[in-house]
């Protein structure tokens, strides 16, 4: 099934259902959700992702962070930048609805020196205590991991007049686990790697994917574009994950998803766009439209452990 509905709407609709369920007898003409939004179209300046090198670091180590920005048709890359980068210094309240600590929207932050698009974040030495499994002083409740067992240092970006949060994965020791499980985890865990594709093909022409933030220029005369991201090896890494229910370490495999966006025309791709064996590729079709002279397409590849890589194609009319 090909359509352009993004995860936001689909997920929201799925979650709407319990509260409206009692009304289903009236559905034939009554209940209607909002029309699906075209989330693949960039209508205003946005931050799409932060590419981190490396994507997982220990407290006290540094990560190079590069913001991937998108802009609407008629603008150019040079117009935009990140106004400020901030390390959050307080954890999120357990059970609160957000994914970032609300205190980080106000004052509980540490500014990072940066230029418009990049910064180097030195992770605090107490990051695993504030945001990880180490109990804070006084024996308080540690933070909870995500489904991959990961913990994250939230980093706030101020751009385009609003807040964007990057979550930098922390390499923390296993907390409150049996000794043998902790030892097994420590000996087998490898830090996460970016799911960088091996190559990009555009209308059959191959490009080596030489950077986690890949940029190429295309000619609009060649539109529409048949795009394909290809991995020569399975990008879905396996990793040890502590199962808090069985209190043992088990082997899990990442998921890798691909999102495509453009500021002109239409992008068609299958959703959800997970990379899987044996194809190990993600395909899309981009038709920028005949009346544009300069259009851009972005692709964001994310793995479930918080790493991301990005692709930007600038299509210019010769």
């Amino acid at each position: 099934m090909t359509h352009r509905r993004g995860p936001h709407t689909s997920h929201a609709r799925a979650l709407l259902a319990p509260r409206l369920a009692s009304l289903f007898v009236g559905l034939p003409s009554g209940c209607s959700a909002t029309a699906p939004e075209n989330l693949t179209r960039v209508m205003q300046g946005r931050v799409l992702a932060v590419v981190a090198e490396p994507p997982e670091v220990r407290p006290g180590e540094a990560a190079r962070l590069r913001a991937v920005l998108a802009w609407p048709i008629g603008s150019t890359a040079a117009t935009f930048g990140v106004d400020a980068w901030h390390l959050c210094s307080e954890p999120r309240i357990p059970g609160s609805h957000g994914t970032a600590p609300s205190s980080c929207l106000t004052t509980a932050t540490t500014p990072l020196a940066s230029d418009a698009l990049e910064t180097t974040a030195l992770l605090p030495t107490d990051a695993c205590r504030n945001f990880g499994p180490d109990p804070p002083p006084g024996g308080f409740r540690p933070q909870d991991p995500d489904v991959t067992g990961g913990y994250y240092q939230p980093i706030r970006l101020d751009a385009f007049g609003q807040y964007w949060f990057h979550f930098q994965r922390l390499h923390c020791p296993l907390g409150n686990a049996p000794t043998d499980a902790a030892a097994e985890f420590s000996s087998t865990y490898a830090a996460n790697q970016n799911p960088t594709p091996s190559q990009l093909t555009v209308n059959g022409v191959e490009f080596a994917f030489d950077d986690a933030l890949f940029v190429r220029e295309l000619s609009l005369a060649d539109a529409p574009f048949e795009l394909s991201l290809i991995w020569h090896a399975d990008p879905r890494e396996t990793y040890p994950r502590f199962n808090p229910a069985s209190r043992s370490v088990e082997v899990a495999r990442e998921t890798v998803s691909v999102t495509w966006l453009s500021n002109a025309g239409e992008v068609s791709f299958e959703e959800p766009n997970f990379v899987s064996e044996p194809n190990r590729q993600a395909v899309a079709t981009w038709a920028p439209g005949g009346d544009v002279t300069h259009a851009a397409l972005w692709s964001i590849v994310r793995d479930s452990r918080g790493a991301a890589v990005a692709l930007r194609l600038d299509a210019i009319r010769p």
Partner: protein, 696 residues
């Protein structure tokens, strides 16, 4: 109140559909509550427009019940659904409706009466801080074999009632919902993945025994199951509920020549409940499962003097019954309410699932990223002896009762598991004296003033006792209820009741707002609640086939977190009103229902940020700023025609039109992906139901 003393005679030996008065023995029934309560005969309730022939669903039309939302469980006088006790023959039920609030789990053919006490309920009930809804099954032994088959757009059912001997009989029945089979086909894939279309079934069996000694026994089995599943490539949701009750009642009645009447009822019960909710998508997954096995035992003895033993079936709902009492009488109601249960709750996923009352969230907000695994084992025993003395002297009736609630809770773990150390369990004991005082004063032959003050406690939900998702040391929540009002009888069949009510709620479990709470203290029991309001209830008992009621409730319900901030109760409805009118003539029965209600409060989105890992906007939601959905208005009509069949059988065909004016009601608000725009989701359009029921 005085005027309703005759409402709840329990030993009615008449068919519920009897028209002619039948002389029956009334053996000292427990006194009805002296505060506010509403009782409906099941077969009358089933005629209420909007109930789709479901007597228990008519509860949603009673005064004091907020308009249903979500799964349809009743919100009574500003209390959460789980704070109102649901009882079938005084055996607690975990839910009233099959998933989605579509059908009640108790078939109408099983019921004799439905009674709602929205507050200040009697000491015979306990462990709930809201109200009490009592469903009572039929008591009489079937006098002849009757087969009832029914079908409509939702389900089909069949039930058989037959005598097995001159003094015994049985009722068997089953219902199967098939709406999930056709609705997705009609609505298409897109809508099918948007809405829960439940499949469900239930079955029941009752064995009635009239013993030679005059004693009576009844064994009841009820089992109800439902499940719903939906999803798309991004997200899946599954829900499954099952509940089973097996219980018996043994009733012994004695009448002495000196005017004393005693009645003893013993009700042992076994129950099994299981619920599962699971959501998953590519970046989060959450599930909550709860299974519980319970044993219950109730022993109730009622001793009275001076209350006439003979009533008629019709007179049970005749408000003039009071005047037929002896001028001086008393009734003592004493008993023991014991219950033991073992519960296992399993939590996987975000702490925001399932959402709690008061959580700041908006429609469609995905669960959080956090993943918590908590297994909670709770064994609990509660024993509550109680006694209530009901005195009538001249124009005054005083009902004073006392319940001593004792609760023992065994927890397998009181702190999160610590590496390489065995878990530490604990036993916790709590007790409470729960008094209740009701006073009535017959100011005149037509006017009765009444008031009731009571105290109630409710143990914490088992899942709230988890070391990682809750707090094993939670104190039972407490409530004090006060009702004051009067009833004016304008005629033999028309009465007007005006009352005010107040509820003070304390020790409510709320989320801790600390970024790093102490281990095992994710919830705190310092929450408070405050509910007040007034209610008008005009009731017309059937006269010349015409009946109905008007109920208007004006109320405010709010909650205060332990940090001192007050907020609106999630289901707060300042105004709710229902007008029900029924008219029967000949083979026709017509009914209508008009409902008006304030919209539900919704929190305001103050700002948003974008989560670059999940690739979605996240709203910041105010804990105190809120707005309301637009008011709800709906008009429903119902027509039923009875056709005589051979051999005394009959067929009933009904048509029910919901939202006959096709009013566009806003049921919820959906936000755009960046939460910058919101759209109201419209509810039920005009919709017609057709159903058939045959009795042979």
């Amino acid at each position: 109140m005085f005027m309703t003393l005759g409402l709840l005679c329990s030993n009615v030996r008449a068919q519920p559909s009897a028209v002619d008065p039948i002389e029956v023995i009334v053996a000292a029934p427990p006194p009805p509550p002296s505060g506010a309560h509403t009782t409906l005969l099941a077969h009358e309730a089933a005629q209420t427009a909007g109930s789709q022939g479901d007597a228990a669903k008519a509860v949603q039309s009673l005064p004091g019940v907020a308009r249903a939302s979500g799964e349809g469980e009743p919100v009574v006088w500003g209390s959460s659904p789980h704070e109102t006790g649901l009882f079938l023959d005084r055996v607690a039920l975990p839910m009233l409706f099959h998933g989605s609030g579509l059908r009640s789990i108790v078939p109408t053919s099983l019921l004799s009466t439905v009674r709602l006490t929205p507050g200040a309920y009697g000491v015979e009930f306990g462990r709930y801080t809201g109200g009490v809804l009592e469903l009572k099954t039929l008591d009489d032994v079937p006098v002849s074999a009757t087969l009832v088959a029914a079908a409509d757009a939702l389900d089909a059912s069949a039930s058989l009632a037959a005598p097995t001997s001159p003094s015994s009989g049985a009722r068997l029945g089953a219902r199967y919902g098939y709406v999930d089979r056709w609705l997705p086909e009609v609505l298409g894939e897109d809508v099918a993945q948007l809405y829960t279309v439940p499949s469900y079934w239930d079955a029941h069996a009752i064995i009635h025994l009239d013993l030679e000694s005059g004693d009576r026994a009844k064994i009841v089995l009820l089992t109800a199951h439902d499940r719903a599943q939906r999803g798309n490539a991004w997200a899946q949701y599954a829900e499954r509920n099952a509940t089973t009750r097996l219980y018996g009642t043994y009733e012994h009645v004695s009448v002495s020549s000196s005017g004393f009447t005693s009645r003893t009822v013993v009700t042992p019960s076994i129950g099994y409940d299981r619920t599962t909710d699971a959501t998953s998508n590519y970046d989060t997954e959450s599930s909550a499962r709860l299974s519980s096995t319970s044993l219950g035992l109730r022993v109730e003895t009622t001793l009275n003097w001076g209350r006439g033993p003979v009533q008629s079936a019709e007179r049970k709902l005749d408000a003039t019954a009071l005047q037929r009492l002896e001028p001086t009488s008393f009734q003592l109601n004493a008993g023991l309410d014991a219950r033991a249960e073992t519960t296992h709750a399993r939590h996987r996923g975000s702490l925001t699932v399932p959402p709690r009352e008061g959580d700041a969230q908006v429609f469609g907000l995905p669960p959080g990223r956090d993943y918590v695994a908590d297994d909670i084992g709770v064994e609990r025993a509660a024993v509550a002896p109680y006694a209530e003395l009901d005195l009538v002297w001249a124009s005054v009736r005083i009902t004073s009762g006392l319940r001593f609630e004792t609760m023992l809770t065994e927890l397998g773990r009181v702190l999160p598991s610590i590496t390489n150390l065995p878990d530490t369990g604990a036993s916790r004991y709590a007790s409470a004296w729960l008094p209740r005082l009701g006073v009535e004063f017959a100011a005149s032959r037509r006017v009765t003033w009444f008031g009731a003050l009571s105290r109630h406690v409710q143990p914490p939900e088992p899942r709230d006792l988890g070391t990682l998702v809750g707090n094993p040391t939670l104190h039972p929540s407490e409530a004090t209820h006060l009702t004051i009002g009067d009833t004016t009888k304008l005629s033999r069949t028309l009465s007007v009741q005006v009352l005010g009510f107040r509820k003070w709620l304390t020790h409510l479990a709320t989320r801790s707002q600390a970024p790093n709470p102490q281990p095992g203290r994710l919830l705190a029991d310092g929450g408070r609640g405050d509910v007040w309001g007034s209610q008008l209830f005009v009731q017309l008992r059937p006269t010349s086939g015409f009946s109905g009621w008007l109920g208007v409730t004006i109320s405010q319900s709010r909650r205060r977190a332990y940090d001192g901030t007050w907020r609106r109760f999630d289901y707060d409805q300042p105004l709710s009103g229902t007008l029900v009118v029924n008219q029967s003539f000949g083979a026709w029965s017509l009914g209508s229902r008009l409902r008006v209600a304030s919209g539900f409060p919704r929190p305001a989105v103050t700002t948003t940020y974008y989560d670059l890992q999940l690739g979605r906007y996240v709203p910041m939601i105010s804990a105190t700023a809120w707005w309301r959905l637009p008011a709800f208005v709906a008009f429903d009509v119902r027509a039923e025609r009875r056709f005589a069949l051979g051999a005394g059988g009959s067929a009933h065909v009904y048509v029910e039109v919901l939202n006959a004016t096709n009013h566009e009601n806003a049921e919820e608000v959906a936000y755009s992906s960046d939460y910058g725009a919101r759209t109201l989701l419209r509810g039920l359009p005009l919709l017609a139901f057709v159903g058939v029921r045959t009795e042979l």
